[in-house]
Symmetry: C2
Subunit: 220 residues, 2 copies
C-alpha cells in the first residue's frame, strides 16, 4: 500500500536541543527519515513524503530523490487529512507513518498492516499516534494532544473498528534526549550510525539509561 511519511525540515526535533545543535538536529532528522523510508520500502510498501515545502539537498547517504512527494504547507492534521481523502474506491487502504521512528522494522510494519479493522493504530509513547492504516473514508486525524486516545474515540463515534498493534519499535518516536538511548540500544540504521558518529553514547550512571556526549558539550 501507499504509506505517507510526513516530514518537515523546519526546526525539526527542537526538544533535542539540549544535546544536538540546530544543524545536527536537521541532519539527524533526515537520517531518521531515511531509515523510515527504507523500512517502508523493505516491507513491500510504497513510501510517499508529505512535506510543507520541497525538501532541499539531500545528504549523500539518504537518497530520497526517487520518493514520490506531496507538498502541502498546512499543519500536520489538515495535510494528512487531505491525503486520507484518497481512501475509498480504488484506494482500499492508506498508511501514515511518522518520520521519527528509526526503530521501525519491516516486521513491525507487517504486524500493523496485518492488523484488521477500519483503522489500525500503533500508539506512540506519551499518547501519540505513530503509525496508522486507514481503510474507511469516514476516519480523519487530529494529531494534537493525546491523539491515540482521541483517534480511538473518534473511530468509535463513527462506528469504525480499531485494532491496536503492541510494538515497542513503533511506539518509540524520537523527540527527547532520553529517546536517543533507545536508538543506540535497538537501532541498526542511519540514525544510530549518525548518533555514534556524533559522539552520543549511552549513559548508564542514572536510574534509567540515558545519553551523554563523548565530548561533554554540545557544539553551538
Amino acid at each position: 500500500m501507499r504509506i505517507v511519511v510526513p516530514y518537515t525540515g523546519r526546526d525539526p526535533k527542537s526538544r533535542l536541543a539540549p544535546v544536538l545543535s540546530g544543524p545536527e538536529r536537521r541532519a539527524f532528522a533526515r537520517a531518521m527519515l531515511g531509515d523510515v523510508v527504507e523500512t517502508v520500502s523493505a516491507a513491500g510498501h510504497t513510501p510517499e513524503l508529505l512535506v510543507p515545502e520541497p525538501i532541499g539537498a539531500v545528504e549523500a547517504d539518504v537518497d530520497l530523490g526517487d520518493v514520490p512527494t506531496t507538498v502541502d504547507d498546512r499543519a500536520l492534521t489538515p495535510a494528512v487529512d487531505a491525503v486520507l481523502d484518497r481512501v475509498g474506491e480504488g484506494v482500499p487502504e492508506l498508511g501514515v507513518v511518522m518520520a521519527d521512528l528509526p526503530l521501525a522494522t519491516p516486521t513491525a510494519l507487517d504486524r500493523l498492516s496485518a492488523a484488521g479493522g477500519d483503522v489500525a493504530v500503533a500508539p506512540g509513547r506519551g499518547g501519540g499516534t505513530n503509525a496508522v492504516i486507514v481503510r474507511d473514508p469516514a476516519f480523519s486525524v487530529d494529531y494534537h494532544g493525546a491523539s491515540y486516545r482521541d483517534h480511538r474515540e473518534a473511530a468509535a463515534a463513527a462506528g469504525l473498528s480499531v485494532s491496536v498493534v503492541d510494538s515497542m519499535r513503533l511506539a518509540t518516536d524520537v523527540d527527547e534526549p532520553e529517546d536517543l538511548a533507545e536508538v543506540l540500544l535497538h537501532g541498526d540504521g542511519r540514525a544510530r550510525e549518525w548518533l555514534v558518529d556524533a559522539g552520543i553514547e549511552l549513559d548508564t550512571s542514572g536510574g534509567r539509561v540515558g545519553v551523554r556526549r563523548e565530548s561533554g558539550e554540545r557544539p553551538e
Copy 2:
C-alpha cells in the same frame, strides 16, 4: 511455566516521589504487582513471588495469599540467579517478569513464551530487561545498568541463542512520573484504577502527554 515476579515493599518506586507520597507509592506498587500476578495466571502460567522479606498485609483487592513465595534478602541479581539455578532437568524453562509492568497482557506474555531461543527477552524502556524466559542453565542475569544489552552480550558469549519480543506493553516499566501517563492511556487493571482514584490525570498541555494531580498537590 513458573514465572517469578521479584517485588520489594522497601521504599518502592522512589522516582515517583514527585507525584506520589510514600504510602501512595507502596499502595500503587502493590496494585501493579496484583495486575502482573493476575496477568501471569491468566496467561496459563504459575506466578511465584520473589521478595526480600515476607510481604505484609495485603490490600483487600489484591489477594496474593495463595501465590507461592520465595524469600531471599539478597539484591535482585543474586536472588534471581538463585531462582534460575532451577533451570535444567525437570525444569525446561523459567520466566522472570518484573512487578512494575501493569500494561502486560496475557497476549504479550504469550508472544514472549512463544519466542524461541535459549533466552527470550522483552527489553524495557531505557535498556532494562523487563521480562525474560530462560531455557539454558548457562544463562545468568545482571540487572545493573543497561541490562538488556548486557544480557544479550552475555548470552552471545555463552553461545546461547536469544530472541527478542517487540512489545510496548512489556517495554513499559513504571518508574518515572511520565510513565503514569502510559498506565492511564493503555491500562485496564488495578494500577490504572488506583491512579484514577488518586486523582492522577493526563496532562496534555506539553509536547508529550504527561500527568498531573487533579488537586494540584501531592499529599505529604
